[in-house]
Symmetry: C2
Subunit: 224 residues, 2 copies
């Protein structure tokens, strides 16, 4: 029997490296997918390449999408500053419909590959207030996906795997460390420099630092 | 009161020109959105520009997406021939997850614009067997969209408008002609030449020809 294929969304960050490790322990043949969407933190894409290669993904593709043409987010719009302090509500680092767009593209590749499994490293605990990181969103996406595709209609339903959805950052780090993930390869910072060195002060850096601290695991992040 | 905004998916084809006319009669301020996804029939994009401008869309944006990197469709993969005869089942001109990807991007722009209405010109009658042209798909997408976005959470639910979904090609042409749509500006052909001249023999050309014939309206299509 052929090995089951999965499309794994790999951003270059800590969470997606962990789900790639999880998908591999579940014996999926992993097809890593990343997006070049005009994000400022392009060091993430370099990290995604290293993570996909080191963790032996079957293939790695980077799809370009012109999301920056819409503006509206500090992650793609140079006119909006990346915040360094925590505020209530949904932060300006929110990219409109990002997970919807990413999952839609993963669905397209899954269909071409005849894969019926998609892994995404979202979590609803430290989710920074993003609406498209919640379980009810994922469930609705899966329902939609199973009406959208030729494969689903022909009897191969799509499953969206979110193994991190109920875990805290500390639990993700503990779990991934047990699976042998080398977190020094990953970049989470919203404004990492060209060498992948983190700022240490954005939302994403602070969640990550706090996670290593709570897990009692040494933080291998390269700060500038 | 400000005019309500709508994102209108404009491909340059007959159906999308009709929905742009419909959205305007419903007094929406229209934001036309097109995609450059490696399609062979790039004359469609030129037609989209002309249609958006002639029909006075407020803005027109063309978003690049690297869908061709996935392959798997005659519309984006030069190794798969565009068929000229009708077959049963889903045709090779199907682009994996295309409407899911397009609607996801429309959702992103809608959120930036603070628009809560999206128009898409799909129809389930002459739908060529595409699964993502069915009403149940649209309904599921709308449910998902209303869990995905900041705006929906903050009380501005998204509505996906599909005014053509139950119409035949002939009915669409009759309706659009009454609204004053100039169909000579539109290109439907899967393999139109650089001047927008149609082949007259692909699925899309044949549906279109048959539509004008059944509607009893002179076909303004430029054939080569």
């Amino acid at each position: 029997m052929n090995q089951k294929k999965a499309v794994v969304l790999v951003s270059g960050g800590l969470d997606s490296a962990t789900i790639l490790a999880i998908a591999k322990t579940q014996e999926f043949e992993c097809y890593a997918l990343s997006f070049d969407y005009g994000q400022r933190h392009r060091a993430e894409l370099d990290a995604a390449r290293v993570v996909a290669e080191t963790m032996q993904a079957q293939e790695h593709r980077i799809i370009q999408i012109g999301l920056d043409a819409f503006g509206g987010s500090a992650l793609t719009d140079p006119n909006i500053a990346v915040p360094t302090t925590q505020n209530d509500g949904i932060p300006v680092t929110y990219v409109p419909a990002r997970n919807t767009v990413f999952l839609a593209l993963a669905l397209g590749w899954a269909e071409v590959l005849q894969a019926s499994d998609i892994f995404i490293g979202i979590n609803a605990v430290d989710y920074s207030g993003y609406p498209d990181c919640r379980p009810e969103f994922i469930k609705a996406f899966q329902t939609m996906a199973n009406l959208a595709t030729k494969s689903a209609i022909e009897g191969q339903p799509i499953e969206i795997h979110t193994p991190l959805i109920a875990l805290s950052k500390a639990e993700i780090i503990e779990f991934g460390t047990k699976l042998g993930v080398d977190y020094s390869l990953t970049v989470s910072c919203y404004s990492a420099d060209e060498f992948g060195q983190a700022c240490g002060s954005c939302d994403s850096c602070r969640f990550r630092q706090e996670g290593f601290k709570q897990a009692g695991i040494a933080d291998p992040t390269r700060y500038r």
